[in-house]
């Protein structure tokens, strides 16, 4: 059985036929070919698939595509404008907050949700927030720095 999902994806109205069991991340990656959102695990631990849905960060591997019907979904591809990085992306670059880049889209999307609710997070608050985002390259040191710097840039 297929269902129709209508949603606003990165500002555009889109529609797709999906199976009931199709995950939001599968819809984003396989159907709409937005491959910046990654899949790193199958237990909702790694956070490589984090996207913004209706103003909140969600793990798109743990949301059914059908649940996104009528939703506003923004992925990593929505942030940079005309080749200009978003301040949070720029902060990741300036602070070497990424190495292999695989966890990065999820980190950035997650960081934006943190900063939306807490514009000036402390180091401890950033580390606590990143509980659901795993990075195997950086030891988090520079990710934490990047998020603090990104938050500051977004405040000013």
């Amino acid at each position: 059985m297929t269902l129709t999902v209508n949603m606003t994806l990165n500002g555009e109205s889109v529609s797709a036929q999906v199976e009931g069991r199709t995950l939001l991340v599968q819809l984003i990656r396989d159907h709409f070919r937005l491959t910046g959102t990654h899949v790193g695990c199958d237990t909702s631990q790694c956070g490589a698939c984090v996207v913004d849905m209706n103003g909140r960060s969600v793990k798109s591997c743990t949301v059914l595509a059908a649940q996104a019907d009528g939703a506003q979904v923004n992925t990593i591809e929505s942030l940079a404008e005309n080749g200009e990085l978003h301040p949070m992306q720029q902060a990741f670059k300036d602070n070497h907050g990424l190495q292999c880049g695989f966890c990065t889209p999820g980190m950035v999307m997650s960081a934006l949700d943190l900063v939306a609710n807490n514009p000036d997070p402390s180091e401890a608050e950033i580390r606590d927030w990143l509980e659901g985002n795993l990075c195997r390259c950086t030891g988090y040191h520079n990710i934490v720095k990047a998020i603090a710097a990104g938050a500051q840039a977004m405040r000013s």
Binding site: E19, R21, R29, R33, L34, T35, G36, T37, H38, V39, G40, C41, D42, T43, Q45, C46, A48, T75, I76, E77, L79, A80, L85, Q89, F92, K93, D94, H96, L98, Q99, C100, G101, F102, C103, T104, P105, V108, E123, A124, I126, R127, D128, L130, E131, N133, L134, C135, R136, C137, T138, G139, Y140, H141, N142, I143, V144
Partner: protein, 780 residues
């Protein structure tokens, strides 16, 4: 902005990763591709009575189902190393199981369908009838009298290997005032790159050629192994592409059976076949790391002078020999047992053992963390037993700076180093002098505070090919580079090194920009495609800069040499009178000069050009074979607080000083150290690949059960470097990728045992283990 050697340049590769435009293997959709899912054994050891695929073949969307029988005649996946060339038991590893499965995760069948979901559904319908056999998980069980044989071999032993002078070591122990003995387990890790492995195989009937896209750290090595040893495809008919790769940590070095299966199946079904691992599959089938059981003894004088070191290790190979498995616990381990010290006599014996577990291969550090862990643990214990300060006992035994090149008793010769300033600076950063006060303050809060040191020497820059051959590598370990200067002076660099997070596109471009005096933006680095790159041995063992970077430096020398000839002609001067500096060829002592860009243009528009003596073009390749390994060294100091009520350890400070030789990009180097420490902390505190002893089931088979460090498990780090240049490579560089993973476990366990006042706690030092150790210590 300075973008040359030594500058903290922001990375070229970041824009595409930050904007979601990375191109990882699973992001690739080949036209007409089908999807593969593997049916994996859910038992650890069994004969296969039957594999019934009939129902699966009838499922919606199924294109084909293959079993081991279909792959008869396809070679097994080979091993690339035998210690000293053998003898070594080297049982075959079929691509799909033939008659028998030997670990949970062994591949039994391959389902190819229109979609991944249809392939998954059909895989569920494959019926495998197993005749279960008893499984052996621990090496002790595998070597016990009457243990079930995993392969058609007399027993489960793979090899027995030794290094160092046994007699001299025995004599050292005979005259020792004090012997410190430690039995330890170096716990099995799962590398867990956040990108799961993936592969796409396709066959082009028009050109009779194959392409494999794969998550590999070394595409040329995969081409060689799979082409020559498994599928019989010559190099000119096989292209291997490793596009952006999301971390490797050793697990993406080996040649895996899935790569063979998709490449072979691509031809069978006449369309590209794609497979992407799920994380639970990664846990079962990625190569694991470490897994040693070791007894170490250190013979000392009463003043703490090291006289001799004796080591016996059992190393778990898993069920099959992965590509470099036997190298790791032999020549990447025994040769590093001198550490920072002048211990005159060392003997190490290692037994490689087969078990019903996933194959073991390199994991960040590969052999060197195991060596460093046992040295620095036993040294720390000796210091405590003899009542000598842990810094002081190390200092008394350091190789002195005037002793380099220093010949160790375990074959390797350290090229350069200066250890005392490293430890002095690290102790200063860590405020070692103020530790007693901090410990007292922590005690007033009911916390047990401890400090732990770990010094290390590692061997990077693998490796002189003739040495590699003597010790048993079935490959050369040089690196290749091509530097292509385009007519307008921009440059493409083709490197056999592969970046999966290390930032080569930036670091290598810095070298080129610096050497040629051209803008950093005018240099692009290309890697990961056997059709574009002349050759390559890939990235592992912190070798990219020392070997791959040196190949680029060598090619750059050729570019400059040819440029000098072109300039000499243009400037009507003798070639010997031309200096090249900051992008200008200048006649020495005059103001006559020509820029690099003009020389490049002249090479491609050779109107005023010495055509009778010189070919047009400015495009030079080089192969670089290192003269020796490189030997980075460092000291990491960790401070912890343990909660005696719960046994929970919190890392409160981490200070490190490392000597990596010349640093090209300090920002990237620091990032590498941070990541390495995280791997080491993971091993020491959190990570353990645990199998059930009876059933051989992997108990820690998901990220819910296997704990890799989270941001709140780690502190911020304080990192500095010192510099003694590598004397034998053109850049003076040593390598930095594994240092943290090598130093961290010993530093952390030394800190924890210091905090709770026990001799030893095995890794991972979970709250349960720490609490139990504390209880038994208090009971004494």
């Amino acid at each position: 902005m300075d973008t040359g050697i030594g500058a903290a340049v922001a990375r070229k590769e970041d824009f595409r990763f930050l904007t979601g435009q990375g191109n990882y293997t699973d992001d690739i959709a080949r036209p007409g591709q089908a999807h593969a899912v593997f049916v994996r054994s859910d038992v650890a050891h069994a004969n296969l009575n039957s594999v019934d695929c009939e129902a699966a073949r009838a499922m919606p969307g199924v294109v084909a189902v293959f079993t081991g029988d279909d792959l008869e005649g396809v070679g097994g996946v080979p091993c690339g190393f035998a210690p000293d060339g053998g003898p070594m038991n080297e049982p075959p590893r079929p691509v799909l199981a033939q008659g028998k499965v030997r670990f949970v995760g062994d591949m039994v069948a391959m389902v190819v369908a229109e979609t991944a979901q249809q392939a998954r559904d059909a895989a569920e319908a494959v019926v495998v009838d197993y005749d279960e056999l008893p499984a052996v998980v621990s090496m002790e069980a595998a070597l016990a009298e009457g243990a079930p044989a995993i392969h058609d071999l007399e027993d489960n032993s793979c090899f027995s290997w030794g290094i160092g002078d046994a007699e001299a070591t025995g004599a050292a122990f005979a005259k020792a005032d004090h012997v410190t003995t430690l039995e330890l387990v170096n716990n099995r890790k799962c590398p867990n790159a956040i990108e799961p492995r993936a592969a796409i195989g396709e066959y082009d009937t028009a050109r009779d050629s194959y392409t494999l896209y794969t998550t590999s750290q070394n595409p040329h090595v995969i081409r060689l192994l799979m082409g020559a040893f498994v599928l019989g495809i010559p190099e000119h008919k096989l292209r291997v592409v490793s596009p952006d790769v999301g971390g490797g940590f050793g697990s993406k070095i080996p040649h895996y059976p899935e790569e063979v299966a998709v490449t072979w199946a691509g031809k069978q079904v006449g369309r590209p076949v794609k497979w992407t691992a799920e994380r639970s599959e990664s846990f079962l089938s990625d190569t694991h790391g470490r897994d040693h059981v070791t007894r170490v003894e250190l013979a000392c004088t009463s003043e703490g002078g090291f006289l001799g070191l004796r080591v016996h290790t059992r190393a778990n190979m898993g069920a099959y020999l992965s590509t470099f498995a036997p190298l790791i616990p032999t020549y990447l381990y025994g040769t590093l047992l001198a550490g920072l010290y002048t211990t005159p006599a060392i003997r190490c014996e290692v037994d490689g053992v087969f078990t019903n577990t996933a194959p073991v291969d390199a994991e960040r550090g590969a052999g060197r963390p195991e060596a460093t862990y046992l040295i620095e643990r036993v040294v720390e214990m000796a210091a405590r037993e003899l009542g000598i300060d842990p810094v002081e006992i190390r200092r008394r035994n350091f190789v002195s700076p005037d002793a380099f090149p220093y010949q160790t008793p375990v074959i390797v010769q350290y090229d350069s180093g200066n250890y005392e300033p490293i430890v002095d600076r690290a102790a200063e950063l860590a405020d070692y002098a103020g530790f007693a006060q901090r410990r007292e303050e922590a005690a007033s809060r009911g916390r047990l505070r401890g400090i732990g040191f770990a010094g290390y020497v590692e061997a990077c820059g693998m490796a002189p090919s003739n040495v590699a051959g003597i010790i048993g590598a079935r490959a050369g370990l040089f690196e290749a580079a091509q530097v292509r200067v385009h007519p307008t002076g921009s440059v493409s660099v083709y490197t056999g090194s592969h970046s999966h997070g290390q930032g080569h596109e930036t670091t290598f471009a810095q070298i080129v920009a610096d050497r040629l005096g051209i803008p950093f933006e005018n240099v692009d680095v290309v890697h990961g495609d056997t059709d574009q790159i002349p050759f390559g041995m890939g990235t592992y063992g912190s070798r990219s800069l020392a070997v791959g970077g040196s190949a680029i430096a060598k090619a750059l020398d050729k570019i400059v040499a040819k440029g000098r000839k072109i300039a000499a002609h243009a400037l009507e001067a003798g070639e010997a009178d031309i200096d090249f500096e900051s992008g200008e060829f200048r006649v020495r002592g005059t103001d006559k000069s020509v820029g690099f860009g003009d020389v490049a243009l002249s090479a491609y528009v050779p109107h005023n050009y010495p055509l009778e003596e010189l070919e047009p073009g400015l495009d030079e390749g080089a192969f670089y074979d290192p003269a020796n390994f490189t030997f980075p060294a460092g000291c990491h100091i960790c401070e912890v607080e343990v909660d005696p009520e719960t046994g929970t350890t919190r890392i409160v400070n981490w200070n490190a000083v490392d000597d990596f030789g010349r640093v090209i990009n300090p920002m990237i180097v620091e990032g590498q150290v941070h990541g390495g420490i995280a791997h080491g902390v993971g091993q020491a505190l959190l990570e353990d690949c645990a199998y059930d002893e009876e059933s051989g089931q992997l108990l820690s088979g998901s990220l819910t059960d296997y704990c890799i460090p989270r941001a709140d498990d780690l502190p911020s780090f304080v990192i500095e470097t010192t510099e003694t240049l590598c004397p034998h490579n053109p850049l003076g560089v040593k390598g930095c990728g594994e240092a943290g993973a090598i130093a961290a476990p010993a530093a952390l366990i030394n800190a924890i045992t210091d905090a709770i006042g026990v001799a030893h706690v095995d890794m991972p030092a979970t709250p349960e283990k720490v609490w139990a150790a504390l209880q038994s210590a208090q009971g004494e």
